[in-house]
């Protein structure tokens, strides 16, 4: 992809435009579109002094637009490394990785920052909200780096908070919110840029079961409205929420399975 495509996408990333895409996708399954994620023989080797560790050993898979995929594996399986590559926080040592048609494996740090900003919405286990700012300021943060002006940022932040059901908590600071509410603020932040991919890294790891179900329910809802979601977890019952589960161990994909519900719906 060239630079002009970047700017092109950004200028077209207006709200009305993407709303159309939603409607087009609602309730139906992907038409002919490039896969959101296309990983081909991805290797990631960490070098620590003379010690080399292969965290990923030739991982290849595709995730289509509108899919809800869980990546499941025990700790040390390479799923965190995979998440970093999916999230454009890191680049593969070898192999190619395309995000929404763009080859990100050769991008500079600056370009990666733009891709993360435009295409990916992160939901972390630790919520990662800025404690000094009220909820809506946390949600508008990605828009700040996208160069959206202030009134528009606030409008879209409030809209996103409304969507996760926190319209009455917009001025609360993270410290004044429960864990489940904080994670919902984080999800509003992930949604606000209207990204191609929502990447949730153990989103329920720090939550009690009620809040966890709450968050999973919200992810499910987002999925139904056409969002592409990748959920990374080590818990089998959390992975059950997705329509497809990829099992990863020792840096390789062992296999994948369709969830019962998803299988039934097909």
């Amino acid at each position: 992809m060239t630079t002009s495509d970047h700017t092109d996408h950004r200028s077209h990333g207006s709200h009305a435009d993407t709303a159309e895409v939603w409607m087009e996708n609602t309730g139906t399954y992907p038409l002919v579109r490039p896969p959101v994620i296309d990983a081909d023989e991805v290797w990631k080797t960490y070098r620590n002094g003379s010690l080399e560790v292969d965290a990923l050993r030739g991982v290849s898979f595709k995730i289509r637009s509108g899919e809800y995929v869980a990546v499941m594996g025990p700790s040390g399986s390479g799923k965190s490394t995979l998440m970093h590559i999916l999230g454009c926080l890191d680049v593969p040592t070898s192999g190619t990785f395309h995000l929404a048609g763009e080859d990100v494996s050769t991008m500079s740090e600056e370009e990666l920052a733009h891709v993360r900003n435009r295409r990916i919405g992160f939901v972390f286990q630790q919520f990662n909200l800025l404690a000094s700012m009220p909820a809506w300021r946390n949600v508008e943060l990605p828009l700040l780096y996208a160069g959206v002006d202030r009134p528009e940022r606030k409008r879209r932040a409030l809209e996103a908070l409304d969507r996760v059901g926190l319209e009455s908590r917009v001025d609360h600071r993270p410290g004044e919110l429960s864990g489940g509410q904080q994670q919902r603020v984080a999800m509003a932040r992930a949604l606000v840029t209207d990204p191609d991919l929502i990447l949730a890294d153990e989103p329920t790891g720090n939550l009690d079961s009620v809040s966890a179900n709450d968050v999973l329910g919200l992810l499910d809802e987002l999925h139904r409205s056409g969002r592409t979601i990748v959920l990374i977890t080590h818990e089998a019952d959390v992975a059950q929420a997705a329509e497809r589960t990829m099992r990863i161990r020792d840096g390789q994909i062992l296999g994948e399975q369709l969830a019962d519900s998803a299988a039934a719906s097909r």
Partner: protein, 414 residues
């Protein structure tokens, strides 16, 4: 992300960490205040010295017997066998050999006891000619100064300094009274103006405590001795401050030739100017200013290191925040700028507050200490600019570190 947004974000971070920011600002502030006050004190002292010395008359040259050489210091005997004579002084008055010399006053001095009625006082007696008043830049409060005929007739007349007059006569009018100087009755024809005590300059004695008599009277009647024609100093007034060095050259050449000396190095007299004293005093003050300014500069440097330290702590402490901002799309450049803005905000706030405190100090301090503080606008503005510069300079390294943080490492840290 535009500049305004970056600035807002940086400012927000400063405000969020209020206490830490305030302490950092305090460091810079003290440094700037110190610089402004010390430089102000130094400049004040310089002004004071130069105004004092210009009051003495900066176009004055003083010829004294003996000589100083750079290697061996003072050479020749002061006073014991004076090499300067009345003839030397007379020669210098010639408009032909010394066109740049306005007036010449030879002077012999001695400390003598004086008696007036029951009052007894010892003061410096100066024997000189009519030019002394002009050369010294003095005037009369009452009576007259020594006139030409007083010199030719060796008249027994005396002009008193204000202090001397008061010591001898209290509040009575001394004019027309008689005072015994070294046993010789002299009639008082005038009283000199008051100039006040001057701590510097070549007039080592109190200029208000002296008695001036005609030179001829002094050599014949008062001091006596073998060296009747010798004088202890010759005071020369140049036509203007601009012709001072020309007057110096003329006096030097004429005296060398009169004394039959071929090499300037073996001269038996020394010519000093008030300007030399002025420049010496000024250079001493400059040295002092540089020294104090250096100390203040060091405190500013310490303040700058404080900014760096705080910024580094801030980067470490906010490693997760930086990682999050990067994950959400902040480029390294944006992060670097945010931290640079923070550092320069700390620097500039410190600079402005420091300048304010410095100006306040300059306004208040002179009421408690006798020294004058001169604030130069250039130094004040310069200090603020330096403070901002320090903020940026010491913020570059921490900002670079923040920008280079990998988002995954930053997010992973607990």
């Amino acid at each position: 992300m535009n500049v305004l947004e970056i600035f807002r974000t940086g400012l927000e971070a400063v405000v969020t960490h209020r206490l830490r920011s305030a302490l950092t600002v305090l460091g810079i502030m003290i440094g700037i205040t110190a610089v402004i006050l010390t430089v102000g004190l130094g400049e004040g002292a310089q002004q004071q010295v130069s105004s004092q010395i210009s009051a003495l008359g900066s176009n004055l040259l003083t010829v004294t017997p003996g000589s100083t050489t750079s290697s061996s210091g003072i050479r020749g005997g002061f006073g014991s066998a004076s090499t300067l004579t009345v003839g030397d002084a007379a020669a210098l008055t010639s408009g032909v050999v010394a066109p740049d010399i306005n007036a010449v006053a030879p002077a012999t001095t001695a400390s003598e006891s004086m008696v007036a009625g029951t009052a007894n006082w010892t003061a410096t007696v100066v024997g000189t000619n009519t030019s002394w008043l002009t050369v010294r830049g003095r005037s009369m409060t009452e009576g007259q100064f020594i006139a030409g005929h007083d010199l030719s007739t060796r008249a027994d007349v005396v002009v008193l300094g204000a202090t001397t007059a008061q010591e001898l006569f209290g509040f009575r009018d001394p004019l027309g009274q008689t005072v015994n100087i070294a046993g010789q009755p002299m009639s008082i024809i005038g009283v000199l103006n008051t100039v006040g005590t001057s701590s510097s300059s070549s007039t080592s004695s109190n200029p208000d405590d002296q008695a001036v008599v005609p030179l001829t009277t002094a050599s014949a009647l008062l001091f006596g001795g073998s060296s009747r024609n010798s004088v202890s100093q010759i005071l020369i007034q140049a036509r203007s401050a601009g012709t001072l060095s020309a007057a110096y050259q003329e006096a030097d050449a004429e005296l060398l030739s009169l004394h039959g000396i071929t090499s300037a190095a073996s001269a038996d007299f020394t010519i000093t100017s008030e300007q030399q004293v002025l420049s010496t005093a000024t250079s001493v003050d400059k040295t002092l200013t540089v020294l104090l300014g250096g100390v203040a500069g060091i405190s500013l440097l310490v303040g700058g290191i404080g900014v760096m330290n705080i910024m580094l702590v801030s980067v470490t402490e906010r490693i997760r925040e930086i990682g999050l901002r990067k994950a959400l799309g902040a480029t390294p450049r944006v992060i670097r700028r945010q931290f640079l803005v923070e550092a320069s905000v700390l620097g500039s706030v410190g600079g402005v507050l420091g300048a304010g405190l410095g100006l306040l100090g300059a306004a208040v301090l002179p009421h408690f200490i006798s020294d004058k503080i001169t604030i130069s606008p250039v130094a004040t503005v310069g200090a603020i600019v330096v403070a901002i510069g320090i903020g940026i300079a010491f913020g570059v390294y921490p900002a670079g570190r923040a920008a280079r943080l990998a988002p995954i490492d930053a997010l992973r840290s607990e």
